[in-house]
């Protein structure tokens, strides 16, 4: 009886997801330290903060084992309203850094509501789509879905936080795809997307730095000393890593500060430089494992809501990994999208752990 209970309990836990996540954050914390120890002042300052958020994240994920995720489905409206209110709050009491207003100070740390918005959107959109029985067949339903996503998305776009807005789009498309998106509608979305991009250029809606980043993506040699500098330095860092890298803590591009924001947006470049193709392969392997587990969990979920939530989380991570690492290698435009579990940043770490917690929850409740 006791033994059977233990096995029952063991069957509820996705160990590969837990181990994968653990390896990722351990790897990530190590790289945050490697990317920041040479900075002025306390060499451990960033690592300490990151470790604290890692622990907080673990606690949050563990806390999520105490309830069934399906319960969240009933709170779609309050969650949605809470999301919008938080995003609105940013405009009134937000902190402005480098021209963007993204953070709300809550005592010991700055909360980034746009990060939280990703996970809340997964939950509310999941509930919304699950109510439709996973079928978005008509055009009007599609419009309602985009209205659902549109409000938080616009609030994030105007902060401005183009990167997170794009993540929301990726989540939406991923979940829509699972909800039986028709190919005609997919084409329609594609068409609207193209028109939107044309309009953005027509009316010069991009900020100057965004325009610069795009131009650099198209032609990296435009301005090697100015805006193209970051991309160039990142490519040099990764490329010069060769197969086995220069060794942990031995990156010259990162240690001598040629790499910009190396502890956050460009942390993948540090991996590439110090641990080479080998280290980057392991990292990408861990992500592949993590995201594939997400899809497997989506497949095994006990209900449609679980499938949608697991898909949303997987889509979020896939998109972030693609855009972030792609950016550091020059195959994606530069946007401030963090690498999940890896880039330095509290809000991002918490949100990813919530995502992992949700996946574990969906997995644990797959038989109900």
């Amino acid at each position: 009886m006791k033994n059977k209970g233990f096995f029952e309990w063991v069957r509820l836990i996705d160990f590969s997801l837990i181990i994968g996540t653990f390896l990722l954050v351990a790897y990530g914390n190590l790289m945050v330290y490697s990317a920041s120890y040479a900075n002025q002042g306390d060499p451990f300052v960033l690592l300490k903060k990151q470790l604290i958020f890692t622990l907080l994240g673990v606690l949050v994920a563990a806390g999520m084992a105490f309830f069934n995720y399906s319960w969240l489905r009933h709170y779609m409206l309050p969650l949605y309203i809470g999301n919008v209110v938080l995003l609105l709050l940013v405009f009134f009491i937000g902190q402005t850094t480098l021209g963007a207003t993204r953070w709300i100070s809550i005592g010991f740390f700055n909360l980034q509501p746009s990060e939280l918005a990703k996970i809340i959107l997964i939950l509310t959109l999941g509930a919304f789509l699950a109510d439709k029985k996973g079928n978005v067949q008509t055009f009007s339903e599609l419009v309602v879905v985009f209205a659902h996503v549109g409000l938080p998305l616009i609030l994030i776009l105007v902060q401005p936080d183009m990167g997170t807005a794009l993540v929301l789009m990726a989540i939406t498309l991923g979940m829509l795809f699972i909800s039986g998106l028709r190919w005609q509608h997919a084409l329609l979305i594609l068409g609207i997307g193209i028109i939107a991009i044309l309009l953005i250029f027509q009316f010069n809606l991009l900020r100057e730095y965004q325009m610069d980043r795009l131009m650099i993506f198209i032609n990296p040699s435009v301005d090697p000393m100015g805006a193209g500098y970051n991309l160039m330095q990142s490519k040099i860092a990764i490329g010069s890593g060769n197969f086995f890298g220069k060794g942990l803590f031995s990156g010259t591009q990162s240690g001598l500060r040629f790499l910009p924001v190396r502890h956050a947006d460009f942390i993948f470049s540090v991996v590439g430089e110090e641990l080479g193709f080998f280290g980057a392969l392991i990292l990408l392997g861990l992500y592949f494992l993590l995201i594939s587990r997400g899809i497997a969990i989506a497949m095994s979920a006990g209900n449609l809501y679980g499938t949608l939530v697991a898909t949303g989380v997987s889509a979020m991570w896939l998109f972030q990994v693609l855009v972030n690492t792609g950016m550091t290698m020059g195959i994606m435009p530069i946007t401030g999208i963090p690498l999940p579990f890896f880039s330095y940043g509290g809000s991002s770490m918490l949100v990813n752990f919530i995502g992992a917690g949700l996946l574990l929850n969906v997995y644990a409740n797959r038989f109900k």
């Binding site: 699972i178 060769n242 010259t252 592949f288």
Partner: protein, 619 residues
């Protein structure tokens, strides 16, 4: 377990396929960056972090012939900036305030294009100690700005021999293109004139290089490799500093005396002292002079304009060898020798000077400087009294003989050619001849024909003849030593930084002139007579050493007369040959000869200096 809809299952499989594709793309890109193109990026990363700093070698010291230091080096605190920071307007403003310079001025300093935008370049030398400390303490606010200890030129003897020594300046773009790129970089100091330019390769030494690791802001983290600079070699000149001082002073005094004596336009001049037995230049003075120390750290554009303006009489020009003038009567020895060598006159020839000469016909009269006439004169008196009629006659006879004989003998003494002195930008002067006149008047056919008067003018050192004072020194040196034309030179020895001799410059013969010893001896006598009984008698009355020489007073259209005196002493065993020339200074005998006397007094160590000027109306 609730079975999911088949279609959802299928779509999740598609999603997993998409994931696989995404990761394959990322891995492919990684492979191409790290493994395929890895070496290229390794190189780029290395050039990011490794910087080669070249350290300039201490430039060679320049000594006079007695070992007195004329030019050496002194340490100077210099503010430098990485050229890439020039675009930072805030930084420029801040730095301008600290260094007391306009931001434009800073940019002006770095106008030469640079190979490396991160390599620091000097924007100001000789900054104050407290400014240097301030910059170091505020290095965080002043990215790319550094203080370096540099060595700059130092002139212990002040401005003496400025023209011979020359000055340094930042290498120009044209010079960079010409010189070996590996050795020279923008911002390098190179000799721009004088010895500094001529012996650049010897003085300069070899740069040192330091390989350092820098961070993104250009801050040096550690030194990887250090190769010390090799000091430049030292030069020992033939110049005698004491005689140089006396020569410069005598020249200035002569110019002042000329101004006092009614020649207010006398503003410039030249004086040279050479050893007639070797060609060694013992003193070389050009007035106005300049202060080479003003060029340290780059001369201000205002000062540069002043130095190159007509109103300041172009002080950068070395008038002893970069300029050529009508030599007038100091040229007469050439005519004398030509006449004798060609046999158109003999020692016994006599001439009748009535003050006016109509040898070329009544329509073409020429005058002797002495309008009253010298009466019956022989060749010797013609020289000592500088009688123009005698030389008109000789010139005309040479013309009639044909074959441009006077020009031929002029060239025998290297007129119309560079003396070959070891200084840059030497003038060739000009010996006018038929071919030259035709070329020169290309656009004026009526003036192309060589006429008898041209040769007659040449015979008295006027007309289109142009010579540098140094060429005249060469003429008198050759007469003094009995017929050998030595190449004048300024550098005696090349020494290592430790003082060991590497090279000795021996005297270099241009040629033994094709004139018989007796003829030269005769000329020597005539020149001695100029000083004892002739036009230079008053200037040298009571001088204890026997001097031989010749006065000259050149007519220049639209200007006052140019005063010349050329001499050597002691007359029977010459050690010094001297030429003094004062632009618009009046008569050679009254202004230039006394100056030469004072120089000789200094050379022989006499306390007395002689008169500043005497009365002489000859030409």
């Amino acid at each position: 377990m609730v079975k999911l809809d088949d279609s959802i299952q299928k779509r999740l499989v598609v999603l997993e396929a998409i994931i696989t594709v995404v990761f394959s793309i990322l891995l492919g890109r990684l492979w191409s960056l790290q493994v395929l193109a890895g070496e290229k990026y390794v190189e780029m990363a290395e050039s990011n972090r490794i910087r080669t700093i070249t350290t300039s070698a201490p430039r060679g010291v320049i000594y006079d012939k007695n070992g007195e230091i004329l030019v050496n080096n002194r340490p100077s605190l210099a503010a430098t900036i990485a050229p890439s920071k020039l675009k930072n307007k805030d930084l420029m403003l801040k730095l301008g305030e600290i260094l007391n310079m306009a931001p434009d001025e800073i940019k002006e300093k770095l106008k030469e294009k640079t190979a490396d935008p991160l390599k620091p370049r000097v924007i100001k030398y000789d900054i104050e100690e407290d400014v240097a400390v301030y910059i170091k303490e505020h290095s965080f606010d002043l990215p790319g700005v550094e203080v370096k200890l540099e060595y700059v030129r130092n002139y212990p003897t002040s401005t003496i021999a400025a023209h011979a020594l020359g000055y340094l300046g930042e290498i120009s773009e044209e010079e960079l293109d010409k010189k070996d790129e590996a050795e020279y970089e923008p911002g390098d100091l190179v000799g721009k004139s004088g010895i500094e330019k001529q012996y650049e390769g010897i003085l300069r030494g070899g740069k040192g290089s330091q390989e350092v690791e820098v961070d993104a802001s250009g801050k040096i983290i550690r030194v990887l490799d250090d190769k010390e600079a090799i000091a430049g070699n030292n030069l020992e000149l033939t110049i005698d500093a004491n005689l140089q001082v006396a020569t410069e002073k005598s020249l200035v005094d002569a110019i002042k005396a000329a101004q006092r004596d009614g020649y207010p336009e006398a503003q410039a001049g030249a004086a040279v002292v050479v050893d007639p037995n070797t060609g060694e230049v013992l003193a070389m003075a050009s007035y106005p002079a300049y202060d080479a120390s003003k060029f340290i750290g780059g001369i201000s554009s205002k000062e540069w304009v002043r130095l190159n303006d007509k109103s300041s009489n172009f002080p950068l020009i070395n008038r002893t060898m970069m300029c050529s003038y009508a030599p007038a009567s100091v040229f007469k020895p050439v005519t004398y020798l030509a006449g004798l060598m060609e046999g158109v006159v003999s020692y016994n020839s006599t001439f009748n000077c009535e003050g006016k000469w109509t040898g070329m016909g009544e329509d073409w009269p020429k005058h002797c400087w002495n309008r009253a006439g010298h009466g019956l004169v022989d060749l010797s008196l013609g020289m000592s009294e500088s009688c123009d009629v005698v030389f008109y006659e000789i010139g005309y006879m040479l013309y009639k003989k044909g074959g441009e004989l006077l020009q031929k003998w002029s060239r025998e003494f290297n007129f119309g050619r560079q003396t070959g002195i070891d200084l840059p930008s030497e003038t060739k002067g000009r010996v006018p001849d038929i071919a030259w006149k035709k070329r020169f008047n290309e656009k004026y056919p009526e003036y192309q024909k060589w006429v008898p008067g041209d040769t007659v003018n040449l015979a008295i050192g006027q007309g289109d003849l142009l010579t540098s004072p140094l060429q005249i020194v060469n003429l008198y040196g050759t007469i003094a030593n009995g017929g050998t034309l030595w190449k004048p030179h300024l550098v005696k020895r090349v020494l290592t930084a430790e003082g060991e001799q590497i090279h000795l410059f021996k005297k270099e013969k241009i040629r033994d002139v094709a004139i018989s010893k007796n003829t030269i001896k005769r000329l020597q006598k005539e020149l001695r007579r100029v000083v004892t009984d002739g036009t230079a008698e008053r200037a040298f009355s009571g001088f204890p050493i026997d001097v031989a020489g010749k006065t000259g007073t050149a007519e220049v259209k639209g200007k006052d007369d140019f005063a010349w005196f050329a001499c050597y002493a002691p007359a029977n065993n010459p050690r010094y040959v001297i030429v003094v020339m004062v632009e618009q200074g009046g008569h050679g005998g009254s202004i230039a000869a006394p100056a030469a006397r004072r120089i000789l007094a200094a050379a022989f160590g006499f306390p007395q200096t002689g008169p500043m000027s005497v009365v002489d109306n000859s030409r």
